[in-house]
């Protein structure tokens, strides 16, 4: 029997508002504990919430971007449970009437095909604070700076069938919210985190298996690993004749395993009811239309434009358009260099490699888009070869400077003087008589491949500076004249 995995995801995206969802306190990350929590966030007796409209605007932006129904009337509910970092003893959320209803996004699968993933709903809610266990002996500290930060909880349909699909979906949502500018997407700081609902069933069966929910995973890699591990665990149990307990699990990245947090029996009864301190949010079509019309270009549209305008491959266009800072960078490089394909290759190749190795985001790249564009210009006008360009890029990355300055300072300018090239070619032919004989002896149609050896020798002798096109022409002519 073959197993099938069923995955549904709940993504918590922290909305990039300046102030909290129900108070005027700042949402900035990293301040001293409890310095960004006002009387409302501390849930002092008598305090009341006031809804921050920019959170509404951001939620509606997301809803229109995924082609979802927008709730004309949405209502805040109280989700009641006790926890030390939940100051009011309830979380204000939306259960019955969420702001965003059914929508969808399309993901690309490994085989190049597209799959549509349903979004069940997305609702507004407030974040809780944080418990601090370090620095306290036998005690726990509470930091309420994060309490009241607006979250958009995006709930998917159980439409994903593998960890890879799940990651593709999460990346898609991540790309959407960052492109919309409604979430900074910083997973390490918890601005974007994910709960994974996972179950398995025999292929062909309609009924879902019992599922587990693995909470608060905050990297794409961990999502994939946690799901894979959880699927394996569930299949092992079922194949041993056991059954899956519906429960909440935690992913331990150090041990790369999930472990039980609480079972359904221990689960809270949240006693949801409409929050009497907040009026229902009522919006009209005009409000929604205005937001729809002011949406920035979204990744899918941008990918299509890149294919159309720059003749990029679907893959290249997809990678570059997924992350707004990267697509902005790319477009500047194209503008300067005038060559889209070359620009795409360099952004996704040399630049991405350096960013990865140095764990740096493209938005703070030490080589700017203008610098890279300038470098590509020098490749195009044959001032330097592609290989030399890589050396120039290294220098640019570590020391700065424009391509022209570096080429000048290091004397990397390509040799295009035909006399000089002919001289090197003659020297290489003279020094490699054995290979010349083999060339002459070879069938004419095999000679083309053999020329690479001579090319390499010339480039080596010229320190990479000889113009490869010219070398190729001269070399072929001279060798062929010997045949």
């Amino acid at each position: 029997m073959e197993w099938e995995t069923v995955i549904g995801l709940e993504i918590h995206a922290q909305l990039a508002t300046n102030t909290k969802i129900f108070s005027g306190a700042s949402t900035a990350f990293g301040a001293e504990p409890n310095t960004q929590a006002c009387a409302v966030d501390l849930a002092l007796p008598g305090t009341l919430p006031v809804f921050n409209e920019s959170a509404l605007r951001m939620a509606v932006m997301f809803g229109t971007a995924i082609d979802a129904e927008i709730g004309k009337v949405s209502v805040f509910d109280r989700k009641n449970y006790f926890y030390p970092d939940l100051p009011k003893g309830y979380q204000t959320s939306q259960l019955f009437y969420p702001i965003v209803g059914k929508g969808h996004v399309d993901i690309e699968l490994a085989d190049g095909s597209t799959k549509r993933i349903g979004v069940t709903r997305a609702h507004l809610e407030e974040d809780a604070g944080k418990s601090l266990h370090e620095d306290f002996a036998n005690m726990t500290g509470i930091d309420l700076n994060r309490a009241g930060t607006p979250l958009l909880e995006i709930v998917s349909e159980p439409d994903m069938r593998s960890a890879e699909e799940a990651v593709a979906y999460v990346k898609k949502i991540h790309s959407l919210v960052t492109n919309l500018g409604i979430c900074d997407g910083n997973m390490a700081e918890g601005s974007f985190r994910c709960d994974c609902n996972v179950s398995v069933r025999y292929k062909g069966e309609e009924k879902f298996g019992n599922r587990t929910e693995t909470k608060n995973i905050n990297s794409f890699r961990f999502i994939e690993k946690a799901i894979k591990g959880e699927v394996e665990r569930q299949i092992d149990i079922l194949e041993d004749g056991g059954s899956i307990t519906q429960e909440t699990r935690l992913y331990d990245a150090d041990k790369d395993e999930t472990r039980s947090m609480r079972s359904k029996e221990e689960a809270n009864d949240y006693r949801y009811f409409p929050c009497p301190d907040l009026l229902p949010i009522v919006i009209d079509d005009e409000y929604i239309d205005t937001i729809r019309q002011s949406l920035p270009e979204l990744p899918d549209a941008r990918q299509a434009r890149f294919i159309e305008a720059y003749s990029l491959s679907e893959y290249d266009a997809g990678v570059i358009s997924a992350y707004k800072p990267m697509s902005d960078f790319f477009e500047t490089v194209v503008q300067v260099s005038g060559d889209a394909k070359l620009s795409a290759n360099w952004v996704m190749g040399e630049l991405a490699k350096h960013l990865n190795q140095n764990d740096t985001d493209i938005s703070v790249s030490p080589v700017t888009a203008d610098q890279l564009g300038g470098l590509l210009l020098r490749i195009k006008d044959n001032t330097i070869s592609g290989n030399i360009a890589k050396k120039v890029f290294e220098t640019m990355w570590s020391e700065g400077g424009t391509a022209d300055e570096i080429i000048e300072a290091k004397g990397l300018k390509q040799v295009t003087d035909s006399g000089a090239i002919e001289k090197i070619v003659d020297e290489v032919i003279a020094a490699n008589q054995k290979q010349v004989e083999q060339y002459i002896a070879a069938e004419p149609d095999k000679r083309g491949k053999m020329i690479g050896f001579f090319m390499g020798q010339v480039m080596k002798a010229s320190g990479g500076k000889a113009n490869p096109g010219q070398v190729q022409g001269v070399m072929k002519k001279k060798l062929d004249s010997l045949c």
Partner: protein, 483 residues
């Protein structure tokens, strides 16, 4: 200078008969000498009061006095007052000193009033007799063996005993009107949303409403001029324009249409109360009003609906009292659960626990539809009854309470009998309508209250209707023996 109304005291201050400091000192002396008999204050703020009085005298000297500058008041201990203990009558908040002022406190301070102290109340405003206060029961100045009513019993007793000329109260199910009736005072529960709830410790958010308690309708109007209005910190407060409540007090009553709901005069009503109220209605007819019998058919459902909705909201509102951030915390908790259980077990009194339990049950999974949702449906029916009747008449009149002030301890063992105390008052809270109680006579030497109910935002009309009655009668001028 004591035993005067706010309006009379304001005149005295204006004409320089006495200073605010002299007036304040006289009240403080009386409180300190006599309040041990009534237990109407939880906290007396001598120093603060004299400082505010001196400021008020300075304001007056500088020509900056408002209508209420220099007038002493007392505030129910449910309103947060900066730098002063705010206990809500509970052991839970016995050590709580508020770091901020409730909106109405801020407004009274800005108007230059003097705060004598914080008055006794049923714990978290849950009660109809003031017997559930952690600080002990308060006594009715008309008969020290009887209750002053609740939950604003401290405010009522303090005014009736001449310890303050007026006070603030809150009314969730009748807590301004019932003690006003028991203590021969004028009390107004405004329309829900007319007076800000910010800084008023929440009992049941959709029902709670602050308002004035005073000797006359004129005084209540003066207080409303300060208290009413939109508060950006309370999303449920309304931006409807605030009239000058003292300006229209003298409008003639000719043509006034009074509705008498037959359900308020059913056979169970104490005949002496019925007769007293009927006599007051006759007085209104003499003043030019016409009377019509009307029906509020769902009146009998208001008590059960109220005692689902109010405890449900209370169970959630009181979750924040968990021993984590402020208020009472049990000694040496073993772990988190132990801290929650013992903190709340030791910090809350019996009536509060009872309502938390009822509310938790009503909201729990599987019972929500049968209780909470059903109660909300009944609430709508009750509201529709009122809207229909108030389209036919200007005001509705009836008794405020089914009995006069009862004996201390008489109803504490039977919560349901205690809940029936509010049968005529709490339907207004469910509907969000304004209502008043004014003195209209005596039964066995104890005051009887006439309840006047108006349409949404008809406070002006109610005060006018009450004021005209008080000009034609002298019930409101009667004082307990020895005051």
């Amino acid at each position: 200078m004591l035993n005067k109304t706010l309006a009379e005291l304001a005149k005295g201050l204006d004409q320089g008969e006495f200073s605010s400091v002299e007036l304040t000192q006289a009240y403080l002396d009386r409180i300190n000498k006599e309040d041990s008999r009534y237990n109407s204050f939880i906290t007396v703020t001598d120093e603060l009061a004299l400082r505010q009085a001196a400021d008020a005298d300075a304001m007056r000297a500088a020509g900056q006095a408002t209508a209420m500058t220099g007038l002493p008041l007392a505030h129910k201990d449910i309103f947060c007052t900066q730098g002063v203990r705010t206990s809500a009558g509970s052991k839970m908040l016995d050590n709580f000193v508020s770091p901020y002022d409730a909106t109405i406190i801020r407004k009274f301070n800005a108007a230059g009033t003097v705060s004598l102290g914080k008055t006794n109340m049923d714990e978290f405003a849950m009660g109809s007799s003031n017997e559930s206060s952690f600080y002990g029961a308060c006594k009715n100045p008309w008969d020290l063996d009887r209750v002053p009513g609740g939950s604003s019993g401290g405010s009522a007793a303090a005014i009736a005993a001449g310890l303050t000329p007026a006070a603030t109260g809150t009314d969730t199910g009748g807590s301004i009107r019932q003690p006003a009736a028991f203590c021969n005072l004028t009390g107004l529960k405004p329309t829900y949303g007319r007076v800000s709830r910010y800084g008023m410790i929440a009992y049941a958010s959709s029902l709670d409403q602050g308002g004035p308690m005073a000797l006359t309708a004129e005084d209540a109007a003066m207080m409303m001029n300060v208290m009413a209005g939109l508060d950006p910190l309370d999303s449920t407060s309304t931006d409807k324009a605030v009239p000058d409540y003292t300006a229209s007090l003298d409008q003639p009553l000719s043509g006034l249409k009074i509705g008498l709901p037959k359900e308020f005069f059913a056979e169970q009503l104490n005949p002496e109360i019925a007769a007293t109220v009927q006599a007051a209605i006759k007085e209104y007819e003499a003043l030019g009003a016409t009377v019509k019998e009307v029906s509020l058919p769902n009146t009998a459902l208001s008590v059960p609906a109220y005692y689902i909705i109010a405890p449900s909201e209370a169970s959630s509102n009181l979750s924040r009292f968990d021993g984590v951030r402020y208020g009472y915390r049990c000694e040496e908790p073993k772990d988190l659960e132990d801290m929650y259980k013992r903190t709340r077990g030791e910090g809350f009194g019996t009536e509060v626990k009872r309502r938390i339990m009822v509310g938790t049950y009503a909201l729990s999974e599987g019972f929500y539809d049968a209780y909470y949702k059903k109660a909300q449906q009944i609430r709508r029916l009750i509201q529709q009854d009122f809207v229909r009747v108030l389209s036919e008449v200007d005001v509705i009149m009836g008794p405020t309470t089914p009995t006069t002030a009862f004996k201390l301890g008489e109803k504490t063992s039977d919560p349901v009998e205690m809940y029936m105390e509010d049968i005529f008052t709490l339907s207004l809270n469910l509907a969000g309508l304004p209502g008043m109680s004014i003195p209209c006579g005596f039964s066995n030497g104890l005051p009887v209250g006439l309840q006047i109910i108006g349409n949404y935002f008809a406070e002006e009309k109610l005060l006018n209707v009450a004021h005209k009655f008080q000009q034609a009668t002298d019930w409101h001028t009667r004082k307990p023996e020895g005051i």
